[in-house]
């Protein structure tokens, strides 16, 4: 199975990279784009009996390493 973990800064945490992208777009004349947040995507193959087990495993490694829950939130996609 293929798992994708999306990680982004929590909404209350300032995201200067997102802001920089937004201001660059505004400089390019794209004025209708707002609230840009930048994040990262980590993908991997995982062996598991079923989706539920895969999800549990991915959740565990995400909490323990992939994301820092002090500042980041995440979502998991398994296919």
């Amino acid at each position: 199975m293929r798992a994708i973990v999306y990680i982004r800064l929590k909404t209350e945490v300032l995201d200067p990279q997102g802001q920089a992208i937004e201001s660059a777009l505004k400089n390019l004349g794209e004025n209708n784009i707002n609230n840009i947040r930048q994040g990262k995507l980590i993908e991997m193959d995982i062996e598991a009996k079923n989706i539920q087990e895969a999800e549990e495993k991915i959740e565990k490694i995400t909490k323990s390493l992939l994301a820092n829950t002090v500042i980041e939130e995440y979502s998991i996609e398994i296919s």
Binding site: A20, S23, A24, N27, L28
Partner: protein, 724 residues
Amino acid sequence: MDIYESHSINKKEKELLLNYLGRDPSHTEIGIFSVMWSEHCSYKSSRHWLKKLHTEGIQVIQGPGENAGVVDIGDNQAIIFKMESHNHPSFIEPYQGAATGVGGIMRDVFTMGARPIALVNSIRFGELTHPKTKFLLSGVVAGIGGYGNCVGIPTIAGETGFDSSYNGNNLVNAMCVGLTTKDKIFYSKASGIGNPVVYVGAKTGRDGIHGATMASGEFDDESEKNRPTVQVGDPYAEKLLLEACLELMQKDAIISIQDMGAAGLTSSSVEMADKGKVGIQLNLDNIPTRQQNLTAYEMMLSESQERMLMVLKPEKTEIAKEVFEKWDVDFAIVGKITETNNIVVLHNGMIEADIPIKFLTDNAPMYKREKIKKNKRKRKLQLLPSIKPKDAILKILNSPNICSKKWIWEQYDRTIMANTLNDAGGDAGLVRIENTEKAIAMSCDVNPRYCHADAKKGAMQAVAECWRNIISMGAKPLAITNCLNFGNPEKPEIMNDFVETIIGIRDASIALDFPVVSGNVSLYNETNGDAIKNTPTIGGVGLVENISVLNNFGSLNIGDSIYMIGKKGSHLSCSTLEEVYNGESSIDPPEIDLYQEKLNGNGVLELIQEKIITSCHDISDGGMIVTICEMIMLDDRGATINIVDNNKMMGELFGEDQSRYIITISPELESIFEKKMKKRGVKYEPIGYITSSQLKINDSIIISNNEIRDAYESLIPSVMNNMA
């Protein structure tokens, strides 16, 4: 386009190749020939002329021809250093191009056994207002910092220039300085038939295939699409490789070692075998790879970073393996030294290449290209009569080539290793040698405006400027490295400039006992036929024997007298003043008298070493007044300056006459100073004195410290912090 052309092997070279081999080459062999015969690896246009450089001196342990040059600094210690260009990759992908440039030059230095102790760089971009400049500048600076900061080597000096000739070809010249003991210097010469050839470092991928041929061709608008050929740097891997190599070097296991730079496995294996006059056999089945199914061609040409090739003593292979495994660095025996004098490449049980090494090295094509001196039309200096000195001072301080580069150097870790002695500023970087009272000064210099106007004079000036910057730190200049950045050498006028540059460097380094110990040539710096200004960057090192003489040096005291060493200025042709007001410069750079240079420099060195003066800066771009402004800004002081003849004001303030310094001195030591200078025959002129604040010239011109600082510091942040 046939397969030879697509490998940048021209018709004549193809005939030569077929003649050498006496058969059709395999695809892998064509690849090997193409990179070994590229300008980048073979120096085919420059080799003949490079031999004319001055490369000797009692301080020289190793001159050009190895991974880097080596100079003696006494007490069984040696400095290993080199500068290298990474121009083409940095234009295509500025962050990675600059980062891998820094990584490559560091490997050249630690390959030879030295721990890197400092990085220096010279970077040049198109006009600050050019749409690409901001992107390139911010990427290059982040890349240099990203790599050096992570490996943990301080970046302590450099220069940044802007000129329209770099609009389509920026320059990144990176220099690394390392320290070792004289009995622990490692060379690339392979020996010992049957000895194992070992690969260490990062895994091989498809990165940068054809980087060496890319660096040997001109750019056109299509080049920017060549991104996949740019290598990606991994400074973390470099740090591990550095520590592992230095640890193994303490274990008497290495016979020869060579960094895998341009043309990767091919050039490193060929060079090692060539130096030792032996053969080498590689079995590619054992190469650690990042991707599956790499072909022999791809492995031989890959420019994946952070890799080394070594020949080990067979009985020490296990020890070596343990060291590299401890540092999480790949280690693989990939071949052996043979007596055939051929490079033989095996893969999947097939012989992929079998080439006599001399065909790739000594017998590679060498061109004595046509050169024609093109007389540049002399234009008369035309300055606007209405220029007011105060406006000119502020305008120059606010111009791209003179203004503060703090925005840049604040992104470089300058204090790691805790030995940086002049972080606050100065003409050259200065690092102490751990556990000693010695320090190494280093600087990178060239003035492309002068070089463009007169290749020979410009080259002499670059060497002299570097020498001067090192002297001003109280260091004895030792030796230089260089990066010769030029346009297409097949154009006779460019080839002519190249040759005159070599002669200029040679003359200056002989006169100043400042020999060339390493270097690099970067040709074809052209886009759509427009060449860069000749840019022979000179990187020099010098030695401070005892840093206690520098105590209290470099700080201005109120009431100190200001003197100029050398004659008053008058030469405004080709000056910064002219550039700032007229855009272009006239074709008449200042004369340089190497005898005078040496006389003045040695005089200044004595003044510093005998603690007679309180500070010293050389006079360069922008003339005397820029030097004085820089000095008073550093210490937040003022200065009062007297110009006797108002008609000569502009020349004295802004003239770029050579071989000059500004010094400050406590008034009670003036008579000793004068006596010493007269004894040496050094000319000097009283200029004024240091005050608590503001710059005052003849009571009529007053500039506040805030005005000076604003002009000097505001330009780059205002451009860069406004990123599109």
